[in-house]
Amino acid sequence: MSSALVFGITGAGLIAIGLYGFLIRRNLLRQIVAFNLISSGIFLLFGALGARSLNGGSDPVPQAMIITGIVVALSTTALAIALITKLHGQTGRAELLDEREEDDD
């Protein structure tokens, strides 16, 4: 068992934990935290696969793509948080309603 494999499996675990939080939590900020855990898991999985090379060292191309991914995740998070703040400012809620609940309004 190599270190790269350990980190790869951890990445898979992080994706599952984040996904569960994303599915179960209703508060939008908590969903953002979960979303970021999923992306961390995907990056770690990808990076671990790039670190399996025989001669040691980590493949630089996945590293560059992961750095791009981290910046993209930050941009999405920033925009999503601005939308959530706006939603909260206008409705006082930080959750999305079910369609069923919306019919009751």
Binding site: I9, T10, Y20, L29, N55, I66
Partner: protein, 306 residues
């Protein structure tokens, strides 16, 4: 006994535990704090698999900036949801299956291949920089990075467009009044000179050692935000034309360099003779405009008149 492997297993158990705690924590503040801690632990993980450039990006952007954004939002959204994590059988089953399928497919992969390492090593001299990750970011996979920098600006435009009509083109953030001898005022004066120096160093060193435009820009951005929060620097008004050009300058410079490449073989092709100069120029241009963009992403939509 392989102590390195033992350390990695311990770190991974900790990572999974902290990630679960961030999801399960009853209070939002605890969840965000755990998430920031998680980001720093992942950065240690990146060091362990020899990805130092990613470790810097994860610590600065993944843990630092994302954590700041979340903390700021949680302070503005009062009475944020608290509560125990519900146990739902079907989602647990689904998530376990996904983790098992992913984990199994990694474990079953054929013997490690060399991947792109030899290809990168062969082409590194033509890229003009010694840091292979910087070469991959700016040169080999320039398209990704160009679009990423455009995306940053687009996200900022999206955030600005959420401002109220009354403060349209106004300034982001609150009018800061800081106690003159308080911690924030002292900290705001003491830290930025060191921080700016370190940020500039990270950008500069990125061509030959771990570091680079994005990691350095994050440090610069945070120092700028600290100065704005400490009331030492007024945030620019969103309508300022010169400032908008400064934000777009990095991607525009990158685009211009890419177009120059057309005369030498194709879009985003950097001729080996000039690759070093072009890469450095792009890195410097990106560092400035990305730092400004990140700083304003943290400040959010305009909230007061210009």
């Amino acid at each position: 006994v392989n102590f390195g492997l033992l350390f990695d297993i311990g770190l991974c158990v900790l990572l999974l535990g902290v990630a679960f705690a961030a999801i399960a924590a009853r209070e939002l503040f605890a969840s965000i704090s755990l998430f920031i801690g998680f980001g720093l632990l992942v950065a240690i993980g990146w060091v362990r698999i020899d990805a130092l450039n990613v470790a810097l990006a994860e610590a600065a952007i993944g843990a630092g900036l994302t954590g700041m954004l979340l903390l700021n939002a949680s302070a503005r959204i009062e009475g944020a949801a608290q509560g125990r994590l519900p146990v739902r059988l079907l989602p647990i089953l689904l998530c376990t299956m996904i983790a098992a399928a992913l984990g199994w497919s990694i474990a079953e992969l054929a013997a490690p291949a060399e991947g792109l390492v030899p290809l990168v090593e062969r082409n590194l001299p033509a890229a003009g920089v010694d840091n292979a990750v910087t070469a991959a970011l700016i040169n080999f996979r320039g398209w990704d990075t160009l679009l990423e920098t455009v995306l940053l600006v687009v996200a900022l435009i999206g955030i600005w467009s959420l401002g109220e009509d009354a403060v349209w083109r106004g300034r982001p953030g609150l009018d800061q009044t800081v106690r003159p001898d308080g911690v924030l005022a002292t900290f705001g004066r003491f830290l930025p000179p060191l921080g700016f120096l370190f940020g500039a160093y990270l950008v500069w060193v990125g061509s030959s050692a771990p570091g680079g435009a994005f990691q350095g820009a994050t440090v610069l951005a945070v120092m700028w935000v600290l100065m704005m929060v400490a009331g030492l620097s007024e945030p620019p008004s969103v309508g300022s034309r010169g400032f908008r050009w400064a934000l777009a300058s990095g991607p525009l410079l990158f685009l211009a360099m890419g177009l120059l490449g057309i005369f030498h073989g194709g879009f985003l092709f950097f001729p080996p003779n000039f690759a070093q100069e072009m890469t450095l120029l792009i890195e410097l241009g990106l560092a400035v405009s990305v730092a400004l963009t990140l700083g304003l992403l943290l400040m959010g939509a305009p909230r007061r008149p210009a």
